[in-house]
């Protein structure tokens, strides 16, 4: 069978599993939410309202129905592409996700760009003299950034650049004095398309600190991955053969070793993107970034079942999609990969 047919068969197999996986995830989150003590009324009203009022509100929100009935409605809505309404304000869950997800994706993509550039630069820097001072510094950088607690790093960055120096905002996604740009929800893109410099600048100023912090924390992974794989590639037979053919070291590294060393980094990039789709919770909370992870955390605390269920299902679907795409890209780029 040709490679292409193998690939298509693999893709079909992966996609065939998606509905089953999503059903399992949706059912699990449905069950776990209801098993957890307390319900949305308890979260919303605490001890405030009398019992009759609480029961009336439970009835109004459909929370007094049989569990099986609630599950049936939930699955039926899901099959029709409906994610329900938030219990706290009856806003469609799609709208909640539509507002929060672009915020997380914007943050994640910019952070990933910073992480890739910084990480690859650091990972590459010590290659000229292995075990030298630069290489040692690169290794320490990789380990150090990976080990940093995200919330601590974020608070230190906030303290230095926002509070002490006052250069950038403490948190939030957009200046309070400006109207956010309308469009896709990606403020940088929307403001560029609108040609509004003030909006673009405002969005960028608010993005710098959280994206830089997250990018710094992720860069260590890239640095270590590139360093290790490049080391391995430079020790391999085909590189030795290239050197013996009289090629310059620069050409050997850039044209032979580096492309092969980047393939595992591509896989790591895919895993990182998949994890960022769900948002970087600690960064979002510290910087008051209204992303999907922050919204999920809020919804869990409020026991807002539809919002939690909707976010988990949507994020799971996106993660699956991204992982399939990454697998395909690796397969297309690396002829050694077979299915």
């Amino acid at each position: 069978m040709s490679r292409r047919r193998h690939l298509l068969r693999y893709l079909a197999g992966r996609l065939a599993l998606v509905p089953l996986m999503l059903w399992l995830i949706a059912s699990l989150v449905f069950l776990l939410l209801r098993v957890a003590p307390g319900d949305p009324i308890d979260a919303l009203l605490g001890t405030r309202a009398p019992r009759e009022a609480r029961e009336a509100l439970r009835h109004q929100l459909g929370l007094d129905q049989q569990l099986l009935s609630q599950y049936g409605h939930y699955l039926s809505d899901l099959l029709h592409g409906q994610l329900g309404q938030s219990l706290s304000n009856q806003e469609p869950v799609r709208a909640v996700i539509g507002r929060s997800l672009p915020a997380s994706l914007e943050l994640g993509l910019v952070a990933l760009l910073i992480a890739a550039v910084l990480g690859l630069a650091v990972g590459f820097s010590g290659i000229a003299r292995p075990e030298g001072k630069v290489d040692l510094a690169a290794r320490l950088f990789g380990i150090g950034t990976y080990a940093l607690p995200p919330f601590w790093a974020a608070m230190v960055v906030q303290l230095v650049f926002a509070v002490w120096l006052g250069w950038l905002p403490v948190g939030g996604r957009f200046p309070a004095t400006l109207q956010p740009p309308a469009g896709s929800g990606f403020y940088l893109l929307d403001s560029l398309l609108a040609g509004d410099a003030a909006q673009f600048q405002g969005a960028l100023r608010h993005l710098v600190l959280p994206a830089s912090t997250l990018g710094l924390l992720l860069s260590g992974v890239f640095a270590n991955a590139l360093r290790l794989n490049l080391r391995r590639a430079l020790d391999s037979d085909y590189v030795e053969a290239a050197r013996s053919r009289g090629l310059s070291e620069r050409r050997v590294v850039l044209r032979h070793a580096l492309p092969n060393a980047l393939l595992p980094v591509l896989t790591i990039t895919g895993i990182t993107v998949a994890s960022l789709i769900g948002g970087a919770l600690l960064i979002e909370v510290t910087y008051s970034w209204p992303g999907i992870a922050f919204k999920l955390q809020e919804a869990i605390g409020q026991r807002d079942y539809p919002v939690v269920q909707g976010i988990v299902v949507v994020v799971a679907a996106l993660v699956v999609a991204v992982s399939v795409v990454v697998d395909l890209m690796v397969a297309l780029l690396d002829p050694r990969v077979s299915f």
């Binding site: 319900d39 706290s88 250069w167 957009f174 309070a176 600048q201 100023r205 008051s288």
Partner: protein
């Protein structure tokens, strides 16, 4: 290097903080600005600026007519109230405010409001008895009716603007009669502009931006860096509040303290061991060193409280619960057979997601160890708050520390919800609020006393509440601990913020000092 340059460039291009607009920060985001959805303090704060209830409580705790022109006129039997309404008032969309609009708003709140019980418990019917007169039929006489109607959730909304939203909420728009118009609203930011057609005194600023920052560190940092003009204390840790108070003392900030609206208290499960003996419960009440607890838990910012009603409401003074008396506590415990080689072990539950509760549990445990270690010891357990609320009415907690904030500034909303009992057997509450709140305590005749007190006002109410609280203190199924007063800190260029009687900052009074 390029990264640093970009940062410097962005910093250099920092947009100026608009001098005529003020930025107010708080911790809670607002998923909806509709009065039927608002349940949080932050939501109430916003509604108090963009809405206008019939009455409002001023900083001295006095009720003043707002959209009403006089206090409610009660019928002889106290079951009918007529309220004259202000004329010449317009909604933000230009439509006139009148009795029909008020009826629409109140009926809508009864149908959709998450806090609809505020009306359902007290008001059986609402009608317009004239173009500018409202008539309410009450379920029973209620002396604090005006206070109830001062709730910001009961602010009227424009029937024209909410015509399509009779049966569902309008999340991101608000059309009321308040001094500010809501120009723009997202869960994290709300923009308020003064309403040019407002019937009352104009706002003293050109607008307010209300922003949400999701953690106390960001809030604190935003005030210190000058990014926000005013910070409200909800959501700030005690350490940060103390530091802000210190900065205010040095003139770096301006601080104002509002009236206490929240109390912290202990609920003791009175119908089963180990606290089914009143003597033991009184010993527990005497064992609390509130001054020490206040210092350790909140650096003194949560003042000790020995009454269920916070000042300045009637019934808050004189305090009914006993002061700290370890010798008296020891004597009571000895009388119950403890202290002579036998210790009473009491489980105390605290809400694990509320830092002050945890600090209280640890402090009191250590204080008891110091003062009554041979007689009494605490076993403390943390439970997530939603879980705790769910289990309260099942008698799951022998002792639990909770807090309570009244929905409006009236004494009975601090007393009745904790003590009401629709079915009692002696000192045991079988059904009612007392069971729902986990104490299961009542007393013969207490329910009649509570109901009778609802119709009273002034000194008669204060005397009745005093008598009720003495009985409750004697039963010791509830033990007040502290009162929490809201605070606000502002940049030094601003005049001190002003609080109303509901503990909310009067945003229209915010202004920059003349230099």
């Amino acid at each position: 290097m390029p990264w640093a340059l970009v940062t410097l460039l962005l910093a250099a291009c920092q947009p100026p903080h608009q001098p005529d607009q003020l930025v107010v920060a708080s911790r809670s985001s607002l998923d909806s600005v509709d009065p039927v959805d608002v349940t949080s303090f932050a939501g109430g704060q916003l509604l108090s600026a963009i809405g206008d209830p019939l009455y409002a409580s001023d900083a001295a705790g006095q009720l003043q007519p707002r959209l009403a022109t006089a206090l409610p006129q009660l019928s002889a039997d106290g079951r009918r109230a007529r309220i004259p309404l202000r004329q010449g008032v317009r909604f933000h969309d230009g439509t006139p405010f009148n009795a029909a609009a008020m009826v629409f708003s109140l009926e809508r709140f009864r149908a959709l409001g998450k806090l609809s019980y505020l009306l359902d418990e007290r008001i059986s019917a609402i009608r317009a008895s004239g173009p500018y007169e409202l008539e309410l039929r009450l379920t029973r006489p209620y002396g604090a009716l005006a206070a109830l109607l001062s709730s910001s959730n009961l602010t009227p909304v424009s029937p024209a603007a909410y015509r399509q939203h009779r049966r569902r909420s309008l999340r991101d728009r608000f059309v009321g009669t308040g001094p500010y118009q809501l120009v723009r609203s997202t869960p994290q930011q709300q923009t308020l502009r003064p309403f040019s057609g407002y019937w009352g005194p104009a706002a003293r600023n050109r607008g307010v931006q209300v922003v949400t920052l999701s953690n106390s560190t960001a809030l604190y940092g935003a005030l210190i860096s000058g990014e926000v003009d005013l910070l409200l204390s909800q959501g700030l840790e005690s350490d940060q509040q103390r530091e802000l108070a210190r900065r205010s003392g040095r003139g770096l900030l301006v601080q104002t303290v509002g009236p206490a609206v929240e109390i912290g208290y202990l609920t003791l499960l009175s119908d089963r061991p180990p606290l089914d003996h009143p003597q033991l419960r009184r010993a527990v009440a005497l064992s609390l060193d509130r001054r020490l607890i206040s210092e350790r838990v909140s650096y003194g910012m949560r003042s000790p409280l020995r009454s269920l009603v916070p000042p300045p409401l009637p019934g808050s003074h004189p305090p009914s619960w006993p002061a700290y008396g370890p010798q008296q506590a020891r004597s009571l415990l000895r009388g119950a057979g403890y202290c002579n080689g036998r210790r009473l072990s009491l489980p105390l539950t605290f809400r694990s997601n509320v830092p002050a509760d945890r600090l209280f549990a640890l402090t009191w445990q250590a204080q008891l160890q110091r003062d009554l270690g041979d007689c009494l010891q605490l076993e403390i357990t943390g439970v997530e708050s939603t879980t705790a609320y769910r289990q309260l009415d099942k008698g799951a907690f022998p002792m639990i520390v909770l807090d309570w904030a009244g929905d409006y500034p009236a004494a009975d909303v601090y007393v009745t919800p904790l003590l009401a009992c629709s079915r009692a057997s002696g000192f045991r509450c079988l059904e009612g609020s007392s069971a729902a709140f986990g104490s299961f305590w009542s007393a013969p005749g207490l329910q009649r006393q509570l109901q009778a007190s609802e119709a009273l006002q002034g000194p008669a109410l204060a005397r009745r509440l005093d008598a009720i609280q003495r009985r409750v203190a004697d039963g010791a199924a509830y033990i007040p601990l502290w009162q929490t007063a809201p605070r606000a800190w502002a940049q030094p260029a601003l005049a001190p913020p002003v609080f109303d009687g509901s503990g909310r900052v009067v945003l229209q009074q915010l202004h920059r000092r003349r230099t």
